[in-house]
Structures are given as C-alpha cells and as structure tokens.
Amino acid sequence: MNEMTPVQTTLKDWESDQEVRWCPGCGDYAVLKAVQRTMPDLGVARENTVFISGIGCSSRFPYYMETYGFHTIHGRAPAVATGVKLANPDLDVWIITGDGDALSIGGNHMMHLLRRNLNTQVLLFNNEIYGLTKGQYSPTSRVGTRSPSTPFGSVDSPASPCAFALGSGARFVARGIDVHKNLPNVLKAAHAHQGAAFVEIFQNCIVYNDDVFAPFTAKPNAAANQLWLAHGEPMLFDKGTKGIALDVKTLSLNVVDVVEGDWEGAGVLVHDQTNRTIAHMLVEMTGGPVALGVLYDDPKPTFDSAVIEQNRSASEGKTPDLQKLVSQGQTWQVTKQPHPM
C-alpha cells in the first residue's frame, strides 16, 4: 500500500446492507464487529479494501462488509487474492478463511501465499469443526472428536495453524479470540505488517463445537490460561504471578512462578517478536497457557513488490510495439516471382 492521508470513517460506514446470517450466538458476529470497529482506526478507504473468502461459515464475511468483496470457492481465496494483489497492488486485501478452508482443501494455497509473502491479511477463523456442512471433524479437531463422520471419535492428529504458518515461512503470526477485547489490536498489528500477516482467531461454534476453547477462553479460566504477548515485555500471565522461562536442558518453554513481581529473578523471557525460534516454541508450548497476540513479526520484501519491480525493470527501455513483436525472429520477404533457387 502506498502511504496515503488517513481516511475518516466510522464503524457504520463498514456495515453492508446485507442481513447477517450466522447462527445466533456464533463467534463470527464478534469477529465481524471487531473488524468493522478496527477499520476506521486504519485510516483506509472502503473502495480500496477487498475482502476475499473461500467457502464455509466464516467465508460469508465479505457480504457483510461495505467494501469490495469476493466470495470465491472452497480453499482458493489465497489464489484469487494473489491475482487481485498482483493486478492491483494498491488494494488492501483481507483473506477470510476457516480451519477446513485454509488447512484442508486449501492447505496448498495457504502454504504458498505465506512463503511468497503476499502483502495481505489472513484471518483464519478456527472453530475446530466443519460448521456449514453440519458438524464433521476438521483438520484442527482434537483426537477423539465425535462428529457425524467420526461417531467413535476422530483418530488423526490435528494441524496447528500457527505452526503451519511458521513452517510455511510466514513473517507475521498472531492469535486472537473472537470475543476478546484485544482482537482489534491484533488486527491493527496485522494490517501494519508489510507482507502476509497470518492471524488465527479462536472462534466458538455454538452449534457443533460449543465451548471447545472454554478451558482458556471462559472467564474463570482466562487469567491463568492466556499469555498475551507484547514486544519487549516480559511473558507474564495470571496477573503477573506466573511467567514463561526457557529450560535450556530440554530446549522448551516452562511455566515458572513469579514472586513479588521479580520476573527477572524467575528467569522470565522478554518477548522479542522478531525471534523466530521463540515463536516456534510458543506455538509448540504444551501444558502451559495459550500464547496470544503477536507471536512473530519480522517483515521481509513482499512477493507483490518483487513482481512489480521485475515487471518494471524488465520493461525498462523497451517500447511495446505489436507490429515489431509479430515480426520477430528470422523473416523472409515473398515477392510476386518466387526467387530462384
């Protein structure tokens, strides 16, 4: 995106006239509100904003945004977005997807979008279930998930969206929760990042997978189980009584107690969002809190800028001339009399 004068808008400006059709109580409503609330703060113009989605409950999202929107086909939003962004890099492109859309049918496209580093925001609504098709287990469902297609419980290991993103080469990885007040801040950080910004949003499916995230999202559990990261700040949670430290013997992250605020004494790590290794460890951390906020943010040149630059430099000093183009190669002139052999 080119630097532009911030555009003044309000939340209402970002609401389309379409009736929102998610199940009552769905986490998607909260995400929609958070996005609509964030947009005015970004200072962007609605006409330069494009929401592109695949298929699934979350992928209805573009219809509800008063922007340009493209509800594409299952799993292919990253590929469509690639064409849109390369054709017009000035557009601000948001990709809306779900766990099945992004990691199952569209896993290949997601991997390549992230490794190429297309300058877009990816919001992956993870509800660990196929909602629109009525409740089958998804690639992020935990082992043992009972569903119409797995009546005896699922047996395959789930994918971890953020580990997938890091493994694919993503330069921005963050997490948020549908109903949490911090979600707009995560979205702002994603938007500020130049390159593919991957955001996993834990989203509750009230009908088919209700409360699957409650162990860390429910109010009574939140403090003890949510680690909100901030760049340059110590990794503290549970009202500062606990922190994350590095166990050098096992090369893993451990929960340590922090007594009377002495986090340094307890060996608590300070979050460095440019540290890829720590990001991997935060994603893989088991038994402790769930790492939330910006896990990793370390920009590098984007795919779209590289393509545009190569198009420019390869065209430099060349004048397009169709007549010349069709006349290229070894040519010969035929006159009325065939020339003698």
């Binding site: 389309s16 379409q18 113009a45 006409e47 330069n48 494009v50 592109i52 298929i55 573009p62 219809y63 945004m65 922007t67 340009y68 929107g69 493209f70 509800h71 594409t72 086909i73 292919r76 590929a79 469509v80 977005a81 690639t82 064409g83 849109v84 962004k85 390369l86 054709a87 017009n88 000035d90 557009l91 290949n108 496209h109 991997m111 390549h112 393509v307 190569q310 198009n311 390869a314 065209s315 060349k318 004048t319 397009p320 169709l322 007549q323 183009l325 069709v326 006349s327 290229q328 190669g329 070894q330 040519t331 010969w332 002139q333 035929v334 006159t335 009325k336 065939p338 020339h339 052999m341």
Partner: protein, 626 residues
C-alpha cells in the same frame, strides 16, 4: 557405400509420382538432438521460400534409455512448391540415427523412398535393444527402399577431431553432420544454421566451431563424389504464396502473440496464471518474456491456483488468462464455473493431448471437446473456439479475448499438441488491420443507481474495478439475484439467472460458417475442427480432382455454433466428421441439428494421414460418387 538392390515394382512407382513436395523424417534417440535438427532444417527451408508443415513426434521421457524403441524421437517436415497443410503422409526420406529409429519409422516410408542410416550405431548391442535378430542393413529386409548406409558417427568424429572434444561430446555433433547432408540434398543455405550455432554456443566457441565443422563435413560429403548414383540433389522450387513478410511460428508462439495482441486491442494489461504441463508450458515461457506489453505471468502452485489467480486478475481489472492441457483443465473446472457465475472475463487455453488421465502427454488428440462444451457442474455455458493451425492460433486467440471482454465470460480456446509444437510459415499480420475492442469499466453509478448484475444490450454485466469509489459491491459463487447480485436462492430467480446465462452465450455474435472448399449443398460435406484442417483440405482437394462431389467445412466456433451451420449441413446428402477422438463433434452436430453425421475417428496419438480421409470420402460416396 553400399546400396540395396531396387525391387520397386512398376505399380509402386505409379502410386508415387514425383512429388511437388518432399517429406523428410529425422529419427534418432531422444538424446540425439533430432528436434533441434528438424527445427533448424525447417528454418532453412522456410528461408528458401517453400511452404511447409512439420510434425515433431517425441517420447514423454526426457531421456529414455539409450537405443530403445520407446526412446525414439522423430521430426517430420513436409515442404514443397504447392500449398502444404500437413506434415505429409509417408516420408520420402528417412534419416535413421540408430536401429531403433529405423525399426519404429521405416514402415511409414514410401516404397522406393530413401533411408539414410548411421551404420556406426548398428552394433550388436543396439540391434538387440531394437529387437532386431539380424542387422537389417546387411540383409534383404529393406529391399523395397533405397538404402544409404554411412558411418555418420565415425565421419563426425573425424570432422571434429581438431577441436579436441571428448568422444561423447564429439558424437553429439552427429546431428549437425546429418543436417549438413540434408541441407546439401535439398540445396539449402547453411549460413542461418551457422549463425544460430554461433549464438547458441557464444560462451563455448570450441563447441560452436566443432558443430559448424560437422555441419560443413556433412554438406561436403554430399557435394563430393562420395555419394553417387541415384541420390542426387533434389531441388524443390519455392511455393507461390501471397506476397508479404513471412516467419515461421509454432502454435504456442502464435497463441502467445495472439493473447498479447488481444489484450492490447482490449486496452488491458494481461494477467497470466500458469502451471507447467506438457504441451502447454511453452505459452507460459513465451509470455514470461513479454513484460513490456503489460503482461504479468504467475507460475502458480497448481492448476487450480493458476486459474483462480487469473480470475482474481480479471476481478481487479486485467485480462485474466490461464493455459493448460486436459488434466489441468479438469482441475480448473470448478474455478471456471466461478468465472461463469461471477461473469468475469477469462481466457482458458487447452492444448489438448491424448487422454484420459495422464494419457499420452506428448501425443496429440482432440478428445477434450466434450470437456470444453459440457464438462462442468450445473448448467454452465461457455463459449468454445478451436484453432486449426499454428498460424491460425493468432487470430483465434484474439477472438477469444474479444468475446471474453465484450461478453464478460470465460472462453475456452482449444488447440492441441500437434498445433502447439508444429511450425509453419506465417505471413506476418498487419496489426493496423485489426479493429480494437476497448473495454469500458464502469466508473460511476448510472442513472437509477448501480446494479452489479445489470445488463447491456449483449446481456453482459458491468465490469467494475475494485478501487472505484461509489460502486462497492460483493460477488461470489452463490446464485445471484438478477440485477443487485445479492445472494438469492429463490426458485424463480435461479430459473431466470440460468436462462440468462445461457442466453448470453447463445447470443454471442459469431461469423457465419463458410465453406473451405466446394459448394453449398451436394453429396458430401467433410466437417472438421481444429488441427485436422490440413489433412481434410488435402483429402477433399484430391477427391475433387477425381471429380467427386465433396466439400470441406471447418468449424472454428464450436460454441455457440454459427447461426447458419444447421441449414448449411442439411444441404448435403451426407456429412462425414473426421476427428482425433471417438466422435465428439459428431455427437454435438447430431444433438444440435438432428443430422446423421458419420464419424471417422483416429486416436493413435498421430495426426490423420491424407489417404485415410480420402479413403473415407470415397467409401462414403460409393462407387459412383460423382
């Protein structure tokens, strides 16, 4: 030099009058550089002013095991002083670089035709690999042909000795020695080849010099007294063709140039999404070098991403194009449906190959016609255009761009492996003769308000680029409400929108069908499409010379069909449809016009021979075909 005894009967001689054209087939191991040799021979032939057609025939394996039957790579060229439309039925000259090349190709050679064989490669080991019990160069088995056996391997080694190459590298110059001999036989200029070698080996001048020495030695071998008797120089006079500037072009080049021209005539940059697949990759290669024409090429992660990105490109206001072959088109099919539903322009090029599944990747077929016309879920009509030759690809591609942008629809452009690879002379078009068809994006709401699915007189919806203030809207693959484009599942709306999508395509203005050769009405029409153009033209021409009442009709607009086609076909007693499939256009014609179209099918991976169609014409007309 040993020459086999002639046993050509007078009957055989009468069946093969001195040709106005000569067919030469270069055949060797897939590592012998036969495609390169053929390509360079083609260039020098074109420069001499002959009309020509070529047929590269190579295995799917990049380097099949040496000396094997399935590793044989061949290149056939037909050139002459008359109009040439096919690569020729039977070669007059076969150049066989090893026993396997001889075995695979010799039966196609005309009786009395000339075999030039590299006897240096006819070792016991190579003979065994080619499954020869005895050396055919030494027994009578090749007696109905002329045989010239030369130790090309040794002659090449001798010629390049001064350059100090290793044995293996030195032997790689064999193809240039052979080319040199062929150039002498047909009185071709060596200079273009020498220039090309110098450019190709600019960084390794000793290789350039060695190859040139081999080329010269082959030429000199022909010129000096070492070849005697019946094998002399054949002079094929230049064809009398239209005046103008000419070049050679392959179908892949011609499609690429046509797409660039089409985008320019529409006033649009082009976004090309592609994924490597034989035989379509060459289009991606060509376009990736043409950035100054506003072309962005994107090698996607798969076929689906290639088409999806092209749709994204169109949505953002460029001309989205994707290209593949049958298996890849199958993968793109769901996305093509999305382009139909969202009514965005898109050009899909299908360079057809033998199928189903992986099928015959390097061999040609026309078996994706059903796929193009019918092969999508839902009622999903889409225009289909077929190019008939390498040169014709240029205009066919422009036509595809015109329809896509004027009617807001994906368009399928069919070519095939034969057209994609084959080279032919092309009269360089005068670009000022092409009328532009500039796209007008909708930039502000019309009177009465903006409707994303409003219709113009062609039933096309407006094209709005994201970034345009005041025209915010959403599109997608769910059924659209007529006009507003909002989601609408209601029964009456789906009926109306399905009818509308069909009407839009059915009403596309395509030129009336004309007749290639012959008259309106008569005993027999031979109806073709795509790359069967050459053999059908020649067969019909020959049949008419014999006085048979037969006409040739060749269809470019497969869907929608020309408005006059039904009436035209009903004017003939019989309709014969030769196709390189099991009868797909035949089915379409029967379905559309209730006519008794008869199929003539070939799915061997090889183009039709003229004689095959000629025989079918005679059979259709019976003894008294006049």
């Amino acid at each position: 030099m040993a020459t086999a005894v002639h046993k050509v009967t007078s009957e055989e001689a009468a069946a093969n009058p001195p040709p106005e054209a000569v067919v030469v087939r270069f055949a060797g191991d897939s590592g012998d550089g036969m495609q390169l040799t053929g390509g360079q021979f083609t260039l020098s032939t074109a420069l001499t002013g002959n009309d020509l057609a070529t047929f590269p025939d190579f295995p799917a394996e990049i380097r099949a095991p040496q000396g094997t039957l399935f590793g044989v790579s061949a290149f056939q060229i037909n050139f002459g002083s008359t109009s040439i439309e096919t690569a020729g039925d039977a070669p007059d000259v076969l150049i066989a670089m090893n026993p396997a090349a001889l075995k695979v190709n010799v039966e196609t050679l005309k009786p009395g035709g000339l075999i030039i064989a590299d006897e240096g490669e006819f070792s016991d080991r190579n003979l065994a690999k080619a499954k020869y019990d005895a050396n055919p160069l030494e027994d009578d088995s090749l007696a109905k042909w002329q045989l010239m056996k030369l130790n090309i391997s040794q002659l090449t080694l001798d010629a390049v000795k001064p350059f100090g190459l290793g044995n293996k590298e030195a032997l790689r110059c064999k193809n240039m020695w052979t080319l040199g001999l062929a150039l002498w036989m047909f009185d071709r200029d060596r200079q273009p080849i020498i220039d090309w070698l110098k450019a190709k080996f600019a960084r390794a001048p000793e290789l350039a010099e060695a190859n040139i020495a081999a080329l010269d030695a082959g030429h000199a071998y022909g010129e000096t007294a070492e070849i005697g008797g019946q094998v002399g120089q054949l002079s094929v006079p230049a064809a009398s063709v239209e005046e103008g500037l000419y070049r050679t072009v392959t179908g892949a080049e011609s499609i690429s140039l046509g797409l660039v021209a089409g985008a320019q005539l529409a006033g649009l940059p082009m976004f090309f999404g592609g994924y490597p697949i034989t035989p379509a990759s060459a289009i991606l290669h060509h376009l990736s070098r043409l950035k100054e024409y506003g072309v962005t090429t994107f090698q996607a992660e798969d076929e689906i991403a290639a088409v999806a990105a092209a749709i994204g490109g169109s949505y953002a206001g460029q001309l989205g194009v994707t290209s593949s072959s049958g298996p890849g088109i199958a993968l793109k099919t769901e996305a093509i449906g999305l382009a139909i539903m969202t009514e965005l322009p898109l050009v899909v090029v299908n360079s057809q190959r033998g199928g189903p599944s992986t099928g015959l990747p390097t061999k040609t077929e026309q078996s994706d016609l059903y796929q193009a016309v019918y092969g999508r879920n839902g009622d999903a009509p889409m225009p289909v255009i077929a190019a008939r030759s390498a040169a014709d690809c240029f205009d066919a591609a422009i036509e595809a761009c015109r329809i896509a942008t004027q009617y807001m629809t994906p368009v399928m452009l069919l070519t095939d492996g034969y057209i994609a690879n084959a080279a032919e002379p092309w009269k360089v078009p005068d670009m000022s003769g092409y009328s532009p068809f500039p796209v007008r994006f909708l930039e502000e709401a019309p009177e009465g308000g903006f409707q994303p699915y409003a219709r113009d007189e062609k039933l096309a919806r407006p094209w709005v680029k994201p970034g345009t203030p005041g025209l915010l809207h959403r599109i997608g693959g769910i059924e659209k409400k007529a006009g507003s484009g909002n989601i609408d599942y209601s029964p009456e709306n789906h009926q109306a929108m399905t009818d509308l999508r069909a009407d839009k395509v059915a009403r596309i203005a395509v030129p009336d069908q004309d007749i290639e050769i012959g008259e309106v009405g008569g005993k027999l029409a031979v109806v073709g499409w795509g790359s069967t153009f050459g053999p059908i033209t020649q067969a019909v021409r020959r049949a008419r010379k014999k006085g048979l009442d037969v006409s040739h009709i060749h269809i470019r607009h497969i869907w929608p069909m020309p408005k006059n086609l039904g009436e035209l076909l009903k004017g003939y007693d019989k309709v014969l449809v030769p196709e390189m499939n099991t009868g797909q256009l035949k089915t379409l014609l029967r379905d559309q016009y209730l006519i008794d179209a008869k199929p003539l099918n070939k799915v061997s991976g090889q183009p039709f021979r003229i004689a095959e169609i000629e025989d079918a014409i005679e059979a259709a007309l019976g003894a008294d075909g006049k």
